[in-house]
Structure formats: C-alpha cells, structure tokens
Symmetry: C2
Subunit: 342 residues, 2 copies
C-alpha cells in the first residue's frame, strides 16, 4: 500500500517520498555519481575536512518522454556558484550539485554572454611561442590579467587539493534521486556536514506514467497540463537520511508579505536549522535568516523562531557579493552546531 | 473586432497574429534593438552583402508576471550557433537572434561544462609579463593552442568586419515581436536576405491578461495550466513582412512518421521555400530538405513537394558538422532564388 499514491479528492494525487521513489525510475547516471561521492567523502574524512553540499540552479519537469517541452524554474545558479567559492575559501570541501549548464564556481566570472573570454585574448603575431616556433602566441589583455590570474590560481589550487566535486541534474526526478543518495552518503560525516539547498526545485511534477511518449502536437486547441505535487523532500532528509547534518534551505518569494510566514512554516514542518528567505527582486543585497530561537531544534511554535536580516550596500561597494556574508554567518553557526554535539 | 481573440468552443482561444500584437505588450528593449538592426543593415547594403537572420535556442512561456516558473522548449542552440559560423564563412552578414545564454558562434567551442577554458590556461610563474614586471604571465596549453588561434582569429576578423549582430530573446513574446520587427527591416534587402528559423518556438503561450502576478503557491493540490495557441507567425512573415526573402523553417519531431507530412503541411500552409525536417535523435547526422517541386512557390498540393535527404557519417569523420553541408546547400538555393528574380 505504501507504494500507491493517494488521491485527495479534487486536487489530484499526493506522493509521499516513499511512494515517489517506489514509482519513479532513477536516473541512469546515479550509480556512477554515488561512486564518485563515496570516493570524495572518504578523502575528506581522512583529511578531517568539513563538507558542504551546495545545490544550485533550477529543475525541469519534462512534458514528454522524448522531451521537447518542459516546465522550468527560473535560476541562473548565481547564488549556488558564488557561495561554493566562499565555502571553498573557508576550508570546506564542496559537492556542487547543479543544473547542467547553470553557472559554476570560477567560470561564472566569464559568462559567454556578459564577459566573454574571447574578447580579452589577443593574438600576438610578432612573438614566437616557446613550444612551437611557427604558431603565434596568445596573450591576455593587461587590464584583465590580474582578475584572471586570481581566478585561475584559486581554480588550480582547488583542483590540486581535490576539494570540489561537481554533479549534474536536469529534471526534478534527477534532483530528488541524487539528493537522497548524496545525503545518505554524507551522513557518515555526522555533524561535520552542511546542506546548502539553493537549487530552485519544482513543486510540481508529471509522473512518468502520465507523460506522453512523443512531442505534444499543437493545432488541437489550447494546451492543458495537470501536474502532481513533488513530495516534501526535506522531511525524510532531516528525519531519516542525514540526522546530524546542519541543514539550510531557501525560500524565494515575490510577495514580501509571504516571506517570513513561509520560512517559519518550513521550519515547523521539517525541524531543520535555518531557512534563508529572499525576495526575487532584493535577493542580491538582502536576505533573512530564520531559525529556531532556542538551541533545541524541536521547536514547533511560530513564536519560537527568530529572524536575522543580512543586508549589503551595493552603492558603497558594487563588487561586494552578499554570498560572502551569508557563508561567513553559516560557517559560524555550523561551528556552534558541531560544538553542541557533546 | 480584429483585436479581440476568438473563442473556438471547447479548446480555448485562437489568436491571429494581428490580434496577438494588438493585445500583448512589446518587450522594453525592442526600440533599441531595431535601431541596431537598421544601422547594421545599412552597412551591409552599402557593402553589397547578403544577410541571413539566424534564430536559435528555445523560447519561454512565463507562468507568472514576477516570473519564477516557465514553460520552455528544449534547445541548447547548437544548430543555430554552428550554422551562423558557416554562414559567416560563406560571406553572409549574420543577425544572430538567440535565447539569452544559449550557445553562440565561436564561444560554443568552449562550453564551461564540456570544454572549460580555465582548464587549458596555465600560470607561468617563471616568465615576466611585458606589461607588468611583477605579475605572472598566462599561457595556453600547447595542445589547445592551434584550435584557439583558429577560433580567435575568425572571431576577431568577424568583429573587425562588423558582419555579426547579436540579439537576445527570452520569452516567446520577445521572440514574436523581435522577429516581426527584424523581418520588416530586412525586407529592404529584397531577395538578398535569407531567413534561417532554427529557434525552438513554443506553440503555446499564456496571454498577459491570464498570468498570475506572484509566484503560484504549492500546497493547494496539483498544478493546472491552460495555454492558448501562439499565432502561426510564418503566415504574415511570408505574406506581408518580407515578401522577397528566402525563408527556411525547421520541423523537429520525435515520431519519424510525422516528419514529412508535417513539413509538407507547413509549406502548403505558408508558401515559403524550404522546411528542414529533423528527428530529435538523428538531428546531428541526418536532416531532410522539403521544398516545392517547381520553381513556383505557390504550389499547394502535397504531391507538389520534393524531399532531399542530407546525411553525414560521424563514424568516418567524427569532427564533421552537418551544419556545414546544410549551409552549403542553402547558399546554392539562395543564389538560384536571387537569379530567378528577373
């Protein structure tokens, strides 16, 4: 019975997490990804490093098995990619689980649309390459060199240290399977692991059993889509998969009046450590941390939560990234969480 | 009456192109884009260059005015970005009208996910930069230098010649307004302009009047979406906006049995010059050109069309791009079209 979704009268089908995983197929790359995660975590455990899972970018909901059309969630992946860099700088090992082709740490500085690297490379026809006497040497425009040297040095150092593991997802189904598997693996780290769930995950999905095989044809009037709710994955994440992890989730709203109530509701429902609330139009310079008031994580009354606003002034310092302060605050709170274990 | 959409009984609302533009607002960047197009076309006209409009990437259909969720069409933009390079090589000036952040000519060779440029740059601590005695010089890994020199040289030459104009769209509404404006401007070139409509355009949209202002809340059961049909934009494009242009549209299907019937249907309905049909899973090595059999473009019987398959063998030459042959064939047909003007 547990594997059969429940119809809830007028509003369609509700899947529990258990039913979801029993009825929806895993992505084909899951086993391979899990093997990479295991190896990565073993190394970090040996080195005594804290590990953060950063999820980033939007998930898709394909409408067809041979996918031509899909529902998507708006996210370039800026929050996740930027935060990953600051976590690395703070000494964490990072599992960067992101939507394919969304922004990534380091390369995010060189978007092909807004800051294309081809624009600041030059061909120096006069000089001769040390390695090949006939080919011209490529040089970097002097004004761009300092930033590129900095980004490149950090990028190379991170790769040498082996502290960044990158995983991909596309669909919300990929995301759910991967999150479950990675969090189960990460639980071996106990309190030393942090979850930074910045991906923009769809609240709705189309069960495989309801998808059309081929491209939906137009010319037959309007398009009707009916989707089911994605199970609330934070519930088993907190209660079963990774009981000791420090878990940070995000709430994005466009109506400022909903931000705090929705954040408190999430904490009451799932019992995790922090919700970071952000408004779609203010998220680059303002976020709010909402967390249980006491050190206990079992508070269930809305009055039991405290809010703490974090703001930066982009007029004063246009290059400041709010993720620097978000990560600094979380590193502090995570240290407290580890100390309180005893 | 022309500006009021018609209800067609059970299947929602049908918009004519005229009604569409009378009821949906233009994108805010339209005027600025049109000014850039005008200036670009004047220059090409003076230089006597043929001009191709390449559309590329998928369009979105936002579900909310403060957009968090949207419907999208699958397309990385490979077909368009690759073809644009071959059109430039063939001497065309190119208006590259693409989905924001989809692949672009030249930078497409250096995807941050599959071929990140940071991986093949090195910091040479030993050498001293000519411009700054203290900073290390950045060098390109020798194995990557030949390709980078080639891509970079072409990129710089195209920029010097001023033969590439890049325009962005995100939503299907952006796309429709921009396509109309650009094609009206391009009509001054008469038969010297080519339309290569490779973008994956949504067949459905949500009229602004039906969109919710804020993020649709979950927790209220399943999601129901009902969308209207996008007007068939090829109709006014062929019949009104650019009567002498050579127009190539694309059909992507996942059911191989639908490919030819759908291509013929499009030619019969719009009376343009070529439909390139491609199957989702074979599109990298096989396409079919469908066109009217006679030199007349007014054929309206399905028997009046001829098909011509174009295939490449990726086993023999894994680096061959089918767009090279597609563009070569179209350049030939476009020359015939120009000759037949008299």
């Amino acid at each position: 019975m547990a594997t059969s979704p429940q119809a809830d009268g007028e509003s369609g089908t509700v899947f529990s997490a258990e039913t979801y995983f029993a009825t929806q197929p895993p992505p084909s790359s899951l086993e391979q990804d899990v093997a990479r995660v295991k190896e990565f975590l073993q190394r970090q455990l040996q080195d005594g490093r804290k590990v953060v899972l950063v999820t980033s970018g939007g998930t898709t909901v394909p409408l067809e098995l041979n996918v031509v059309r899909f529902l998507d969630n708006f996210s370039a992946g800026t929050r996740g990619a930027t935060s990953a860099e600051y976590f690395l700088k703070a000494g964490y090992a990072v599992i960067f689980m992101h939507r394919q082709f969304s922004l990534q740490p380091f390369s995010r500085h060189y978007s092909h649309s807004t800051h294309p690297f081809l624009d600041f490379l030059e061909i120096d026809e006069s000089s001769q390459s040390a390695t090949s006497a006939s080919s011209p040497r490529i040089t970097v425009r002097p004004s761009e060199e300092p930033q590129l040297v900095e980004v490149l040095s950090t990028y190379k150092a991170v790769h040498r240290a082996g502290t960044l593991l990158t995983l991909n997802f596309v669909t919300v189904n990929d995301y759910l399977w991967l999150l479950r598997a990675v969090s189960q693996e990460m639980s071996i780290l106990g309190r030393s692991c942090l979850y930074y769930l910045a991906a923009a995950v769809s609240d709705f999905f189309l069960p495989r059993q309801k998808m059309s095989v081929h491209k939906i044809q137009s010319g037959k009037g309007s398009l009707h889509i009916e989707m089911d709710q994605v199970p609330k994955i934070l519930k088993p994440l907190v209660a079963e998969w990774t009981r000791e992890g420090f878990i940070v989730s995000f709430k994005l709203e466009t109506d400022p009046n909903l931000l705090l109530p929705k954040a408190c509701q999430a904490l009451a429902r799932y019992g995790h450590q922090v919700v970071i609330g952000n408004d779609l139009h203010r998220r680059k310079f303002e976020v709010v941390f909402v967390s249980p008031k006491s050190s206990s994580s079992s508070a269930s009354q809305p009055s039991a939560y405290e809010e703490s606003w974090l703001r930066i002034d982009l007029n004063k310092d246009p290059h400041k990234e709010i993720e620097e302060d978000i990560v600094a605050e979380l590193v502090k709170r995570h240290e407290g969480w580890i100390r309180n274990a005893t």
